[in-house]
Structures are given as structure tokens and as C-alpha cells.
Amino acid sequence: MSLADALTAPVEGENETPISERGPAPIEVVVGFGFWLFLLSDIVIFSALFAAYAVLADRTAGGPDGLKLFNRGYVLIETGCLLASSFTCGLMALAIERRTAATTYLWAAVTFVLGAAFIGLELSEFIRMIAEGAAPTRSAFLSAFFTLVGTHGLHVTLGLCWLVVMMAQVATLDFRPVVVRRLLCFTLFWHALDIVWVGVFTIVYLGAHYV
């Protein structure tokens, strides 16, 4: 099929009602789209923090720089935890689609443990850095680093709280439509955090050589 055919062919199963007469989109679509817009605006916030970090990364004020502070193996483990939790979150989405509570709890628990492991690793990294005298007040580079990575960590922490709340809602309210919609928003939020982390490990940790 040529591109022109693909563009003009009616979508299969689509009714012929003109778009102006179809009424509002279904609520799942409205909720999903609205949350997608929120996530994009959240990513815009992160882009401002990334820009600040990129500008300030070489302003170490005589203090330690990224090469001295960052441990790549450690970051690879953190990345693995977050990526695996994104995958198990996807498996949870599939379980929600089949409305199987037991599988949903299982993958939610795995997602929670991996996310908590990520936060634990990140916090211990922060504590080690501060103990070495590389606190946020030391230099503009470290202020930008703690703001960017800390904001991401805060998002992950809030995501973990949200996941616990959602599991309580599944337990008490079952898979009623409103709960399923919230779960969809949670999975989108969790995947978005992983996208931001790709930027963090590339620019902050792997980019430390090229400041």
C-alpha cells in the first residue's frame, strides 16, 4: 500500500460519523492524554535542570569533579534496577488488562522492590558524597548535580508511594474503571522516570569525562 493510500484509507472498524458529531472522546482517552501532557511538562522541568547542569558542570570551584566522585559500576546497577522495574511495571499493566489481582500484586511488589533498591543506592551515593565533602553547597557543579538527580529521586520516591496507594485501592475497590485509569497513569509515570534516567546517566555520569 502506498503512503497516499495509507493516509486516505478509512481505518478499519471506524464508523462513518463525522468527527463533529461523535461527541467527546471516551474518558480513558481523555485521562490518558491529559496525563501524557502532564508527563511532557514534567520532562520540560527536567530539561531546565539538565540545561542548568550542562552550564554548571565545569564550575567546581576547586572542589571535586564528576570524574573523582562518580562510580560507573554503581551507576550501572542503579540503571539496571530502574530499567527492570520499568519492565515489571509493563508486566503489571498486562496483568491489569486481564484483571488478575494476584499477578498485579506480584509485579507491583517486584516493581516496588526494584524502585526502592534504586532509591536506596542513590541515597547511599548521596550520603557517601556528602561525607567526602562533596555536599550541594560545595560548588555550583554539585548544586546542579544534587538538584537534577535529587529531583529525579524525589519523583521515584513519590512514584513508590503512589504504587502503594494504588495497590490498596485494588485491594479495597477492585478493578473498577476509575482504579484502572489511575493504574494506567501510574505505569505511564513510571516509564517516564526511566526516560529521564537515560538522560541522567548519559549526561551526568557518562558525560563526566567530557566536561
Binding site: 501524557w36 550542562a54 548519559t202 569525562h209
Partner: protein
């Protein structure tokens, strides 16, 4: 596909993350994880390797990161360029546009200020004393 229309038929919209038929459900997530793992390990390997011309490494890292973000959007968010995704896709395009403006604009402006400011901060501090 029977009849042709003069204008494209606007399809029913689809929420992000819901299309498990189009991207293959479990298979889609497994494929996404596989690509993401390869790209992540690739990034960490490229950052350390001596096999690549060294000045090319930052570009390579950027390409791998953008590729991995694309993998996440396609396999985890299930955003496609299909007609049901028009709104999601346009919002994404606008988001990328704003992110690009903020990041490259900031870097460009700050670098420009840096080179065009004749006095350093140390110099200014000395003048204040």
C-alpha cells in the same frame, strides 16, 4: 479497505500506554527491555572504550541515549505515528521542541555570555574590595 476518502478519516483517539495489540503485549515489553539493555550496555561500553575515535564518543553517547528514549516511547508508552495517536504524537513533538529550545538555548546563551564577558567573576570580586 474499500472506499477512498478525499480527506483522511480521523480515527478514534487512543490513550498512551493502552495499545497492547499493536505493540505485541508481552512480546513488546520483552523486545523493549532487550533493546534498552543493549543500548544501556552499549553506552557504558562506548564511554570507556579505546576502540572508537575519542572525539566521536560524546556524539555516540547522545545517539545511543536518544535511541533508548525512542525505544521507551515505542515499546513502553506504545506511542506510534498512526492515526489513532495523532494527538499523543503532536504533543510529544511539541514537548521535544520545547526541551530542545530550553537545553540548547541555555547552553548557547551561557557559552556566548562566557566568551563575551571581558571580566571574570574573580576580577569583579577584587574590584569590589
Amino acid at each position: 479497505m474499500s472506499e477512498r476518502h478525499d480527506t483522511p478519516t480521523p480515527a478514534g483517539d487512543r490513550a498512551p500506554g493502552t495499545d497492547h495489540k499493536g505493540s505485541g503485549g508481552l512480546q513488546g515489553y520483552v523486545a523493549g527491555l532487550g533493546f534498552a539493555v543493549i543500548l544501556t550496555l552499549g553506552s557504558f561500553w562506548v564511554a570507556d572504550t579505546q576502540l572508537v575515535w575519542q572525539p566521536a564518543i560524546p556524539i555516540l553517547l547522545a545517539a545511543l541515549a536518544i535511541g533508548q528514549m525512542g525505544v521507551h516511547v515505542v515499546f513502553f508508552f506504545h506511542i506510534s505515528s498512526g492515526p489513532a495517536d495523532t494527538n499523543n504524537f503532536l504533543a510529544l513533538a511539541f514537548g521535544i521542541f520545547v526541551v530542545g529550545l530550553i537545553v540548547f538555548g541555555s547552553i548557547l546563551i551561557m557559552a556566548n555570555l562566557n566568551t563575551n564577558m571581558p571580566m571574570s567573576i574573580d576580577h569583579l570580586m577584587q574590584m569590589q574590595r
